[in-house]
């Protein structure tokens, strides 16, 4: 038999001015199971709390109702109070007769009646409360960072500096990502490699960071604090412990093919490092193009390697490891602009993408920084930069804005003028989005100091005449069509997610949006988390982003990981879902609707090992207690602890049958 104690608070005059507190206590004392009811001026104060504790002992109360302010304010206070008196903290119910009663009504009579009803509802629920207990979930304090670009590198460094172990997985042969491909960065015009490589080296030499390059995440199981991840370390065909990075092998390799790092403008060998400052400075053999692997010939690298580091018989290695948290920093891809028929379907060699332009002007690029046309290696004197190629384009590309192109167009125009002072730079734009620190000034500088010509309008057609490219567009400010005879055209192609983003999302059980960008938990308030606990986002994989924002977000994600790892165990909220395995039919509808991927199927076996039935089971570490599964369950087999159907229905009944 339940023994309920009800404590009605005056809250000074906050409640008492509008609610007759004594009358409430008196009315409630007559309710079933209420063995003690009283009122006091300030229930949350020390004497007030002592009042409750004494009453619990004296009247052998086994559950308490406090009618006062909002539980958001003092629920933890009173829970602590009753647990100090020996009760389970979840044997407390609160009736909010302040924010939801005295503070919003004027008429004392009806406010008092309402307060009585609210308290009656709380009593009805409290009678059916059960003790609930936290679970402690151990945390493996080892973070996994997927993606070795600037965001992944920053996140890894921050977590490692806080004293935790980090494994950084990168699928290309070196970390560095997109930033390593850039020449100079806006708005400071820092050399990208110069500011990135120190961080890359820090990662490599940090005692807490293990870098796995040429590796990919194969499978992810488990949950926050306890992810069970399989990583495939692809065979480099080079023994990392022996290789000194001397470079003889890739100098002498006879196979040449287009370099991915140079966006197809330069060449690499079958055995290669992607760029000179690669970390680790150990080459890989591209087995699909290496003569030994495709034809059984050559082996020049093995013959010439002074360290004997070539290892053709190396095999992929599967590494299985436990991690407590995962940071996703897999970056972006550039949209294939060859979909634009009016720009030549990608057939004109001197119509290039912005990334290709970065490689051309970069000292470690295919032309060692000499800006020349891909077709005839002449220096271009007139370059047209086209904005919004595939961005803000519902019909042919993506409707969103890629955020960084306005800035890098200004940067490219400026760098063009620096390299080729007598060159002319034309930028076709619809708007200029320069909304970062120093950004607007930077664009102004490109226009005013370096003389870039900005034309407001879109480009309608680009075609070749002789060795020139004719660019036809509109100047909407002058209201005239424009035709420019250019030597080179640089297209600001849209940023898009990596082609396998959706696959990775599936492996991690996280969501993507309609374009396959990873979905953050809340676009405004939770930009570095996802709905699945323990997984965090950093950088452009979430949405087009520049370097400052990527680095900031990476540190944000790292701080979340550090916060998670700062505890020894995760204390899970006990107000989570629970399955009654007797009545569960195993339809698994709850699993489908759970937004936090917290429900899984479970097979029940008899003592001979034969399966009896399939039911669903809740991972309390992941469950957020949202109740969606409860609404979906057809047999009411899944319930929210502390908010069970019978508790809530009792509240409704109490209200319905009140006088």
């Amino acid at each position: 038999m339940a023994r309920v104690g009800v404590f009605v608070c005056w809250c000074g005059s906050n409640i008492a001015k509008t609610v007759d507190v004594e009358k409430v206590a008196e009315a409630v004392s007559k309710m079933p199971s209420v063995v003690y009811a009283t009122h006091y001026k300030y229930m949350c104060s020390e004497p007030g709390q002592n009042l409750i504790k004494d009453a619990i002992k004296e009247h052998r109360l086994d559950r308490v109702v406090v009618a006062s302010c909002s539980p958001r304010l003092h629920e933890p206070t009173f829970q602590r109070c009753i647990s100090e008196a020996g009760l389970n903290p979840y044997m407390l119910e609160m009736a909010n007769i302040r924010e939801q009663c005295s503070w919003v009504h004027d008429d004392k009579e009806s406010a008092t009646k309402k307060a009585i009803e609210l308290t009656a509802m709380a009593v009805a629920k409290a009678r059916r409360n059960e003790p609930l207990f936290h679970q402690e979930i151990p945390i493996t304090k080892h973070a996994l960072v997927i993606g070795g670009g600037v965001a992944g590198i920053q996140a890894a460094l921050d977590i490692a500096d806080a004293g935790y172990k980090v494994t950084l997985v990168e699928r290309t042969p070196s970390i560095g990502g997109r930033m390593a491909q850039y020449d100079k960065t806006f708005p400071t015009l820092d050399c990208a490699a110069c500011i990135l490589t120190p961080k890359m080296v820090d990662c490599a030499s940090h005692p807490n960071i293990r870098i796995l390059t040429y590796s990919e995440v194969e499978e992810v199981k488990g949950f926050v604090g306890n992810f069970d991840v399989t990583i495939r370390k692809r065979a480099r065909s080079v023994d990392m412990s022996k290789c000194t990075g001397c470079g003889v092998c890739w100098e002498k390799c006879p196979v040449k093919l287009p370099s991915e790092f140079d966006e197809g403008l330069g060449q690499r060998r079958a055995i290669y490092v992607p760029f000179p400052q690669a970390v680790p400075n150990v080459p890989v053999i591209d087995r699909q193009h290496c003569r030994w692997f495709t034809e059984g010939k050559c082996k020049a690298c093995e013959k010439l390697c002074p360290a004997g580091a070539i290892a053709y018989d190396q095999e992929d290695e599967l590494v299985n490891e436990k991690f407590g948290a995962i940071v996703v920093a897999t970056g972006f891809n550039l949209w294939d602009y060859s979909a634009y028929g009016n720009f030549g379907y990608g057939k004109y060699p001197d119509v290039i993408s912005s990334l290709q332009f970065e490689r051309l002007i970069n000292a470690s690029g295919p032309t060692e920084g000499k800006l020349v046309r891909p077709s005839d290696h002449k220096v271009p004197k007139k370059v047209v930069f086209v904005s919004c190629v595939g961005s803000r384009d519902d019909e042919h590309g993506y409707p969103y804005c890629s955020k960084v192109c306005c800035m890098y167009n200004a940067k490219h125009a400026l760098l063009l003028k620096e390299k080729v002072p007598d060159a002319e730079a034309y930028v076709f734009y619809m708007d200029i989005r320069a909304n970062g620190k120093g950004y607007e000034e930077f664009v102004r500088r490109a226009i005013e100091k370096y003389g870039a010509t900005y034309i407001r309008g879109r480009v309608s057609k680009i075609f070749e005449v002789g060795d020139k490219l004719l660019v036809r567009g509109a100047d909407t400010l002058l209201g005239k069509p424009v035709e420019i005879e250019a030597d080179m055209v640089v297209l600001a192609a849209a940023m898009e997610p990596q082609p396998d983003a959706k696959d990775l999302a599936r492996k991690l059980s996280i969501s993507t949006d309609e374009y396959n960008w990873f979905s953050e938990a809340h676009p405004k308030l939770r930009p570095v988390e996802v709905l699945t606990s323990g997984i965090f986002l950093a950088g452009a994989c979430q949405y087009p982003k520049d370097i400052p924002d990527s680095v900031a977000q990476a540190s944000g994600a790292a701080s979340k990981v550090i916060g998670l790892f700062s505890k020894d165990n995760l204390i899970s909220e006990p107000t989570v879902a629970e399955v009654d395995e007797d009545t569960c039919t195993g339809c698994l509808l709850c699993k489908e609707v759970c937004p936090f991927s917290a429900i899984e199927s479970k097979t029940i076996y008899d003592k001979n090992g034969q399966p009896i039935k399939v039911v669903s089971t809740v991972n309390e570490g992941l469950c957020h207690g949202c109740g969606t599964c409860v609404a979906a369950c057809r047999s009411s087999s899944i319930q929210l602890k502390g908010f069970k159907d019978n508790q809530l229905l009792a509240e409704v009944d109490a209200l319905a049958y009140a006088e």
């Binding site: 009016n342 919004c388 803000r392 384009d393 519902d394 019909e395 042919h396 590309g397 879109r458 309608s460």
Partner: protein, 121 residues
Amino acid sequence: MLRSKMIWLCVGCETCTTRCPRGIELAKVMDALRETSVKKKVKPGDPSISTFHQTFLNSVERLGRVHEVSMLAEYKLRSRQLFTDLLLGAKMFLKGKLALIPEVIKGRREIKEIFKKTRTD
């Protein structure tokens, strides 16, 4: 806008519709503006072009098909461009490109009905 030359100069080549990033059917917008300007009896921005279209449709309404010779003659009279392309016209005639005798379809009445219904709607 309704008085502009632009809506008459547009030939409906549909390049705009094909390339518009917002999927706007600009050529259809031009058609609508033209039709509206005619309904509102706005003086056409380029009278020679509107006259041409009207003359063309007159021929269709009368015969069911366009008889180029009579249509061109009517157009030249209406637009007072009597002497342009005369040499070209002669050359074309000599090459058998101009049919002097108009082709009249049997369903002429149906065509007249089509035009009449539109006018009375």
